[in-house]
């Protein structure tokens, strides 16, 4: 794991490999001229935009696995897609090794690849898996038509699949095997950074374990920098060196996985951890899940002050007035809460 320390300016890793600087992604309504005029005249036209990601800065060290957790709508997938160069930030920047991932709305860095949640949707059903895996590397000159077969076979085996299967179609595979194909496709681009968006969420428990072990092997053998996005806190803990918790488009807590799980500094993280059901092994124990009250507010109209204040057990007047900054609470551990210490 990386050495962490306060550099004084709040940024944790000046030596970071992936840099996200004040990234925003706002999805606004597509207003026609008519809508705009109607809105000016006072008609009820939705002009607000959803701030899916609302000012996120991250530094990820080379070879590290960052877990990105949060509930639906918190912006974790949008952030992941910006890092992977699939979405252009509305403002702010994403850079890998000092070079921007995107320019003029196009991805220019193939060193970042992505794995998606649903391996049924992410593989073209009409392509043979050999072609699915070879498509990118051929387009980018990483292999040639002559070497394609051996190249693809190597990555299929790396992902734990038999290389004799190259001529099959995605529908001939189970969910777990398809996720392996998606992993092989990403690896075939020889990435340095892999963004994994809920890659095990749609898999059965016994298959999930197989894919988690594959990720562990990739971490060990290839030294990849992983951004692992998941709502499953136990999976994230298992794979991550560091964890960032998102709520309503912001990072509310970030730190070493061990610390975030055992000594959470933000009340949202605490609530989230308390609501996860765990295995109950004592029949006399009546488990009470400490649910967080209320629901996630609409990102169209986030609450004033701290985003979490309507649901927070600690909230007081200051929290409605002042938006807490993400600040260092102990070395390497950041939280955005007035009360965090």
């Amino acid at each position: 794991m990386s050495a962490l320390g306060d550099t004084g300016d709040g940024s944790l890793h000046p030596q970071g490999f992936v840099h996200v600087r004040d990234a925003h992604k706002h999805f606004g309504p597509q207003l026609t001229l008519g809508d705009r005029i109607a809105a000016k005249l006072g008609a009820n036209v939705e002009t607000r935009s959803v701030r899916a990601v609302d000012g996120v800065s991250l530094d990820i060290v080379r070879g590290e696995t960052l877990g990105l957790v949060g509930e639906s709508g918190c912006g974790k997938s949008t952030l992941g897609r910006m890092i992977a160069g699939i979405l252009t930030p509305s403002s702010g920047s994403v850079a890998v090794d000092g070079a921007p991932v995107m320019a003029d709305g196009k991805k220019i860095d193939t060193r970042v690849q992505m794995i998606f949640q649903d391996p049924f949707a992410s593989l073209d059903p009409r392509m043979r898996i050999g072609d699915i895996i070879a498509e990118g590397p051929l387009a980018h000159g990483l292999t040639s038509k002559a070497e394609q077969a051996a190249y693809v076979a190597g990555y299929l085996e790396r992902a734990g699949l038999d290389a004799s299967l190259v001529r099959r179609f995605p529908h001939q595979f189970s969910g777990g095997q398809r996720q392996r194909i998606a992993i092989a496709r990403a690896l075939a681009m020889q990435p340095e950074v892999l963004v994994c968006d809920e890659p095990v969420a749609s898999l059965d428990v016994s298959i999930q374990a197989q894919i988690i072990n594959l990720f562990l092997a990739l971490q060990r053998d290839l030294g990849l920098t992983l951004i692992f996005i998941s709502h499953d806190l136990s999976v994230v803990r298992h794979l991550s060196d560091r964890v960032a918790v998102m709520y309503l488009g912001r990072i509310v807590e970030e730190g070493p996985a061990e610390l975030v799980y055992t000594a959470p500094a933000h009340p949202y993280t605490k609530g989230l951890l308390a609501s996860v059901p765990r295995l109950v092994l004592d029949e006399t124990e009546l488990v009470t899940l400490e649910a967080i009250e209320g629901e996630i507010p609409s990102p169209l109209s986030p609450p004033a002050g701290c985003n979490f204040n309507p649901r927070c057990p600690l909230a007081e007047t200051r929290c409605v007035r002042d938006d807490p900054e993400l600040r260092l609470v102990r070395p390497g551990h950041l939280a955005a809460c007035h009360f965090a210490e």
């Binding site: 016994s206 136990s234 794979l239 609501s275 059901p277 029949e283």
Partner: protein, 325 residues
């Protein structure tokens, strides 16, 4: 335990497809007492959902309940006509599904849907129906229920929609509620709210709850008894904490060991090799045999469910009791 409200004996639901017979549920027996919460756990294809559908009389061709018995408060359900079953469904036995958006009609208000559900079994005035709908919505944790009756499903969040679906299932005070992965699509903080409410509800109303899930942790916080399904059968059953602490069937044990929560961060997880078998003309013997490290010659014949006391296991080589620390 008082007399069971739901008693299932040797239920077999098979699907007669062009490729052959799929034995989705192949000899399942269990019973549930009033107010009891039973967790039915398995991976996809284990037959847990088909079991739920069978209990509701909702198995469509090419599927058919081939044999067995389902008794609701002593009354046999297998063999009932569609209309007879219809009179029970929603009034004495009800079901909640995983995806509330697919359960609720998107073009009708919540109030209309609830009134329809009420009038399906009872004759009441509109005013009385509205009052009952609001009361049940309040009970499942929807604030200002009266004023939400005019809202459409899309105006609710996922968690609120699932609460509405649960409320509809509870409208007639069903004796048995079957819940098929009702919190799987929800966020953990919302799931925690609903789990707590469901447990209180079962205790207050005496409704028996069959909770179908793939998630052992969720079931262990909610249920008192656990049924583990594999390839169309119950392979292990017993009090939930006991089974999880001391699993006897190699499949249950493997499933537990493969959970990240039971391992040290960063360590390789235990892997059950292979994948779930096809239920299309499965080979004879224990269906877990090809994935089992304890398999022997004996396993080529079908193991019976050995029941002793509250526990049962369908295995020739059950794991011996571990000395609890």
């Amino acid at each position: 335990m008082s007399a069971p409200i739901l008693e299932v004996r040797d239920l077999k639901t098979h699907f007669f497809t062009r490729a052959g017979v799929v034995k989705a549920v192949d000899g399942v027996s269990f019973s549930v007492g009033p107010g009891e919460i039973v967790g039915l756990v398995g991976e996809s294809g284990s037959g847990k959902s088909v079991t739920g559908f069978s209990l509701m009389g909702l198995v469509d061709p090419p599927g058919r309940i081939v044999s067995g018995s389902i008794r609701l408060d002593g009354e046999e359900l297998i063999g009932l006509s569609w209309n007879q079953f219809r009179a029970l469904r929603g009034s004495r036995i009800a079901m909640v599904f995983q995806d509330p958006m697919a359960t609720l009609n998107p073009v009708l208000t919540i109030g209309t849907q609830m009134r329809l559900a009420i009038s399906a079994h009872d004759k009441t005035s509109r005013r009385a129906a509205d009052a009952r709908a609001a009361e049940v919505l309040t009970r499942v944790g929807i604030p200002e229920a009266q004023s939400r009756l005019g809202a459409y499903p899309h105006e609710f969040s996922g968690g609120m929609r699932q609460r509405v679906a649960i409320a509809i299932a509870l409208l007639h005070g069903s004796q048995v509620l079957i819940a098929d992965e009702p919190t799987t699509a929800l966020d953990v903080s919302i799931q925690a709210q609903i789990l707590t409410e469901m447990r209180d509800l079962a205790a207050e109303t005496g409704t028996a709850l069959v909770w179908i899930s793939h998630d052992l942790a969720t079931v262990s916080t909610l249920a008192s008894r656990l049924l583990v399904m594999y390839a169309g059968r119950i392979v292990e059953q017993g009090p939930v904490a006991t089974v999880l602490r001391d699993p006897r069937h190699p499949y249950t044990a493997g499933l537990l060991r493969s959970l990240p929560a039971t391992a040290k961060p960063g360590e390789d997880l235990f892997q059950i090799p292979g994948s779930t078998p096809s239920l299309l003309d499965p080979p004879p013997g224990c269906p877990f045999r090809p994935r089992c490290q304890h398999a022997s010659e004996a396993c080529t014949t079908d193991p019976p469910l050995e029941v002793s006391g509250e526990r049962g296991v369908r295995c020739f080589h059950p794991l011996r009791q571990t000395v609890s620390a």
